[in-house]
Point group: C2
Chain length 262, copies 2
DNA sequence: TAAATAGTGTCTATAAGACATTATCTC
DNA sequence: GAGATAATGTCTTATAGACACTATTTA
């Protein structure tokens, strides 16, 4: 080896670099998928068909495809989340393309030993699924079953790890992820229009209000909520659609119908 | 092999699992460290001493230690961020322990090919560094230099990738990370007390107002801002400290001094 | 007409912006 | 006293909660 060190350009550095391999974590995306059924906020859980936590309810998710990690670096994180969403629900691409699903990154959970298999760092995403897709969801390949759980009635019965109580727990640290997801949606519903991702393509004032009430876990005064609703109309977020919709079975004044503005 | 499949318990599954190895990404933490110097919001950048992007300014950061990824799963993400903060600034543990630094996870950036070396997924953290630590920061081992850049005067001169203009760019996708960090702090300063992480241990009304003005990039009416300030006092977030502080060089009425409540 | 749901009007309390005024220091 | 900065007072407007009221449908 000569004393003269050749100026190592980035090309040759790259070739060198790829020879060294340090231990790396696995990276997954986990999905907190919310939707509305009747007047309830629901979250989609899968029953795990394989260890670890076999047989327990968990958030859907899967590994991010990173190709060979060098020449082919694989898929983006948001693409991985969208792919998992399609796979775990069995919803076809065309259906998802025609029914806009709100998808946003939530937080990254990477505590050591959160997965016994190996170091797993999980990037969690929140998905808001329009309610017309709920009946179409089927168990994907990895899961023994999928089910929509009521946040109000059912999720509260799951215990958190460390709570010395009866009842089932969610797999891994998924209760923590779910808690943060609810907090995110609750926070953002006040100053964004994400609620619109949880109503059908056309909806009434009352239907939008039900979304707010389900998310916030509280009731909204009809008159005051209409101020918020009217602001959305004048701001051009929503607009009136043709026709009216007759409420419940026992009569009542038909309501105007609205839709999103594209 | 017999027809009878032994019921595979989680223990044996684990042993099996570890034999298989799929390609994995590298995971890093990147830090957006903000502080105040005079009346300016500053961000700490390092000049990269090694390829890729050698010689360009970048956010400090480094790889997450994942141990061997199996029996030893390494450090938590927040611990990695805290460790990098200490390493890149040269600040001793004791100093950091005595000067509370606000550290929160921002977002995870994982676009394919964002790093030419290999697939790198970066968990970005925002750190708010109290101003008394600014003079103590020295270049860490990995960096050729560190410098606090004024968000108002200097960062605006860096171009974003794709902008066909003169001027330097930040390394990787760090401009995107920085943009999101500013947006996060700007948003949270309104409804949290994070501004308190950017003032000295004792501070005046005017000093806290300067933090708000630097973060928001706007001026605040003194009288109206005092309402916010008074609310923090009655809410018990801050309290009056003994003594007064004489302002600028040319006289003026001395101001009351405040501190955080523990 | 009763029950049910949709939609309107109004009073009040709170918070925020604009701006005028008083107070206390140094030189 | 002049200049400088700190602290207070007040008027107006915007927004949110509480609640009373009117409107339109079915059975």
């Amino acid at each position: 080896m000569s004393d003269e060190v050749p100026s190592q350009d980035e090309q040759s550095f790259l070739a060198e670099y790829r020879k060294k391999v340090y231990p790396r974590p696995s990276v997954t995306v986990d999905l907190v998928m919310f939707s509305m059924v009747d007047t309830d906020l629901k979250v989609l859980l899968i029953r795990r068909g394989a260890p670890p936590w076999k047989g327990t309810w968990a958030l859907p998710g899967g590994f991010v495809d990173v190709g060979d990690a060098f020449e082919n670096q694989g898929e983006d994180l948001a693409d991985a989340a969208a792919r998992e969403l399609a796979e775990e629900t069995g919803l076809a691409k065309e259906i998802l393309a025609n029914n806009r699903v709100h998808l946003e990154q939530l937080y990254t959970f990477g505590r050591a030993y959160r997965d016994p298999r190996t170091r797993v760092i999980s990037v969690a995403y929140v998905a808001l699924v329009p309610p017309q897709l709920v009946p179409l969801v089927r168990a994907g390949s990895d899961a023994a079953a999928v089910r929509w759980f009521s946040m109000r009635e059912e999720i509260s019965h799951f215990v958190r790890p460390g709570e010395n109580a009866d009842g089932d727990a969610l797999a891994f640290d998924h209760h923590e992820i779910l808690d943060m997801a609810v907090a995110r949606v609750r926070g953002k519903i006040d100053y964004t229009s994400i609620a619109c991702a949880l109503v059908p393509p056309t909806f009434t004032f009352a239907e939008l209000r039900e979304v707010y009430e389900a998310v916030k876990g509280d009731t909204f005064d009809s008159s005051n909520f209409r101020r918020k609703f009217d602001r959305m109309v004048v701001d051009g977020i929503i607009e009136q659609a043709p026709g009216k919709r007759t409420p419940g079975t026992l009569g009542g004044r038909p309501a105007f119908v609205y839709r999103f503005r594209p």
